[in-house]
């Protein structure tokens, strides 16, 4: 095998953070190389430096044996490197197809001249082709703002695939995908590999890495701690490298075994015939004190829309909602919060966080009035609360004053979590709570959710990760095409049963 990419002694510091510290790695032609590490270990930073989206402090990068220093992502692309960024980099007001081809829109006649027209026909046709290959059921003309997070993620993948690159870098491509889409993606990646394409693959799903990758590099706190063939490594060993101590890796174990019908706690939330066309219709269920109710389904099944409507973020067309047995009208998130509800959104960048603001401001936002005395924010109380969450969720940051936009993806997710934990809501709705969260932290978050339930909080959890859905839920609602396809008790639920309901077989 030939060495396609060599990274030598790469270092990069941000104010207060040594993101990369003397990292070296080699990617062979035609291999799938996994890049592993905890949240904030420096994986995304490494990727950005490779393609010239971020400047390095020190080190060399060799591409096909030649030293390169890309100043701009366009140069990396021209050299044959395609990237899927972790933070979805799409332009909301342009069409899906245009986003796929952004940066090198195909010119038709008079190509090369500034007034040459975009070859729309070819562009839409090619986009459609890639979408089909990926199983992305989206009209290429659709503007991106209309798409859900999972669809956007697939769109990012489509964008990287069409480039026919020699090196494909994927930063957590499956974070928002359900197993079906992931499986589709893996087929494509194996196919690409067999045709000689190299892939750098970043993921917090260890199973994926062991199933897919040939070799891996492990980062911890910006330093390389291991580079090995996947075959020579076990999950436990990998985790030990990542977190710096050894903990047991296990598939999330089934923790609960409640019966399907009558959970013990009092009913806190009941939904009857909730409908919002075209996303979902006739949804009825109830949620009890101390219960964890999972919602499963395929991408686009309407789960996100359902919980948004429940929370008053969107208006429902019809249906009734009861809290503590009393019927309520929830016209805005404010009213939902007043009723003791909280919603962790799946789109953390667009809806969950104010990226330019500090961790402190973000976490304290929903509880400011509680942190105030006589109309004045008690700074000490606020700082103490925020620091406590930074510690307990292990948010990697130089200080609580860091802008959340500067945090790694996983740490951003933890900030959103902290924000909703701080509200002390009685009904917590989590939409994909562990998206982009590393193994160690995931375990902690599961613990946290269970603790919440134990303390009597009613939890509604949308998740595309079947193991986590199965492990945590007392009951699982499965949605298909906007309808309730079925309810499974923890005892009877299995991956296969959920998938069946979700796919309508």
């Amino acid at each position: 095998m030939t060495q396609l990419l060599q990274v030598e002694h790469l270092s990069k510091a941000f104010p207060g953070v040594q993101a990369l510290d003397d990292v070296s790695l080699v990617v062979q032609a035609g291999e799938i190389h996994a890049l592993m590490g905890e949240n904030g270990a420096g994986k995304s930073t490494l990727v950005k430096i490779l393609v010239g989206a971020e400047r390095k402090d020190q080190g060399r990068i060799l591409w096909r044996g030649q030293e390169v220093a890309f100043n701009h992502p366009a140069q990396a692309r021209a050299a044959g490197i395609a990237v899927i960024y972790q933070e979805l980099a799409l332009i909301p007001w342009l069409s899906a197809a245009e986003n796929v081809f952004m940066g090198d829109l195909p010119a038709g006649r008079k190509a090369g001249r500034p007034w040459a027209e975009v070859d729309w026909k070819r562009m839409y046709a090619q986009a459609q082709e890639i979408f089909d290959r990926l199983g992305l059921q989206v009209d290429p003309h659709t503007e991106v703002w209309r798409l859900g997070v999972a669809q956007r993620q697939l769109l990012e993948i489509a964008r990287a695939l069409h480039r026919n690159a020699d090196l494909l870098i994927m930063d957590e491509p499956t974070a928002s995908l359900t197993e079906r889409e992931s499986a589709q993606l893996f087929r494509i990646l194996r196919d690409l590999k067999s045709r000689g394409t190299s892939i750098i693959y970043i993921s917090h799903h260890l199973e994926e890495v062991f199933a897919l990758a040939d070799r891996m590099t492990v980062l911890r706190d910006g330093r390389k701690v291991a580079e090995t063939a996947v075959a020579d490594c076990t999950p436990d060993q990998l985790i030990a490298w990542m977190v710096g101590r050894s903990i047991q890796h296990r598939q999330p174990q089934r923790r609960r075994a409640g019966p399907a019908k009558a959970p013990d706690g009092a009913e806190v939330l009941r939904v009857e015939g909730l409908t919002r066309e075209p996303a979902f219709r006739g949804i009825s269920f109830s949620l009890h004190r101390g219960e964890i109710l999972g919602i499963g389904g395929l991408v686009g099944a309407g789960r996100t829309e359902l919980v948004r409507a429940l929370f008053g973020a969107d208006r429902a067309d019809s249906g009734r909602i009861f809290v503590d047995g009393r019927e309520v009208r929830i016209a805005s998130p404010r009213e939902a919060i007043a009723l003791g509800m909280g919603l962790l959104t799946e789109d953390r960048k667009g809806q969950g966080l104010i990226l330019g603001h500090s961790i402190e401001d973000n976490v304290a936002l929903p509880v400011l009035s509680r942190l105030s005395r006589r109309g004045r924010i008690v700074n000490a109380r606020r700082s103490e609360m925020v620091d406590q969450y930074i510690r307990s969720l292990n948010i990697r940051t130089p200080s609580r004053e860091q802008a959340v936009g500067n945090l790694s993806g996983g740490n951003q997710q933890k900030v959103v979590l902290a924000k909703w934990l701080a509200t002390g809501a009685r009904i917590l709705i989590f939409d994909e709570p562990t998206r982009g969260i590393d193994v160690g932290a995931k375990e902690e978050i599961y613990q946290l959710i269970e603790d919440l339930a134990r303390r009597g909080v009613a939890v509604l959890m949308v998740s595309s990760e079947l193991p986590e859905l199965l492990a945590l839920s007392d009951r699982i609602l499965v949605m298909r095409e906007g309808r309730l396809a079925g309810v499974l008790g923890a005892a009877e639920a299995s991956e296969e049963k959920v998938m069946r309901l979700a796919m309508g077989q």
Binding site: A89, L94, S95, M102, P114, E117, W120, E143, W145
Partner: protein
Amino acid sequence: MTDSHKSPLGTGAGLGRTVLERYSIALVFLGFVVVASLISPYFLTLSNVQNILVQVADVGIIAIGQTFVILTGGIDLSVGSMVAMISVLAVSSQGYGVLAEVAVALLLGLAAGTVNGLMVTKGRVAPFVATLAMMAVAKGVALWYTNGEPIYGNNNAFQWIGNGSVLGIATPIVLLVLCYVLAQYALVRTPMGRYVLATGGNKEAARLSGVNVTFYETLVYVLSGLTTAIGALIVSSRMNTGSPIAGNGYELDAIAAVVIGGSSLFGGRGNFIGTLFGVLILGIIGNILNLMNVSPYIQYLARGIIIAAAVLLQRRDRQTA
């Protein structure tokens, strides 16, 4: 973007679709025309329609550059003062012939636009401040060069730009239509237009996708300088004067037209058909108030209320700038 759940606007690839999306402003425009022609019998005469089109030509063309700038999320406050600067410097070069006048105008516009663009992209100065500075500088140059006094034209060829005609249609109207066709084509048909929209829609995403955002963000200010130069040529030629106070307040008119036309001041959304309707609506308001001889005091009131109404009448979800 905080408003990611609002509906998109006018970035449509197909023209048909764009017209449909612009439906509401077109309807508002038609409403204006109907009301105006009911109010004044002179309004819908051929000569008055020509008159309106000629009158809006300068601001209309300047609004094209402004639209490009606003599509990237910027703003160009300097266009009004630039009209004054270009007007006096172009006319003062009339001794070298009409081509020299045109060349001076275009070069000045391009130069000032380039400075604006570089201040914004390389200097990282907020567009508002960068072009505010240019506004003061251009005004200073115009006044200082002329000592505050106008330069009268003596070149008949030059007058053709503002007062001549092509196949019976007044030259400013021809220029106006030509510029709009070109701009809309560039926006919806060429990569350049899509990249400008992308830059305004999400600069970081565009950059990561390999769009040279620095280039396109600079380019829009250069284009604004260019269209301002054309606008300045039209006014100067129409007055046959290089006036250091020409273009007073044009920046506000141009920006208002763009925003009334549905473009978002946050960038990424908008098109030229909307801007053109915005320009026409503003032109009609001025025309009809003059035709009706409305008292100047009431004119201010009326203009304010009409502008608010024009925008309120448009489909609601449009308005998020």
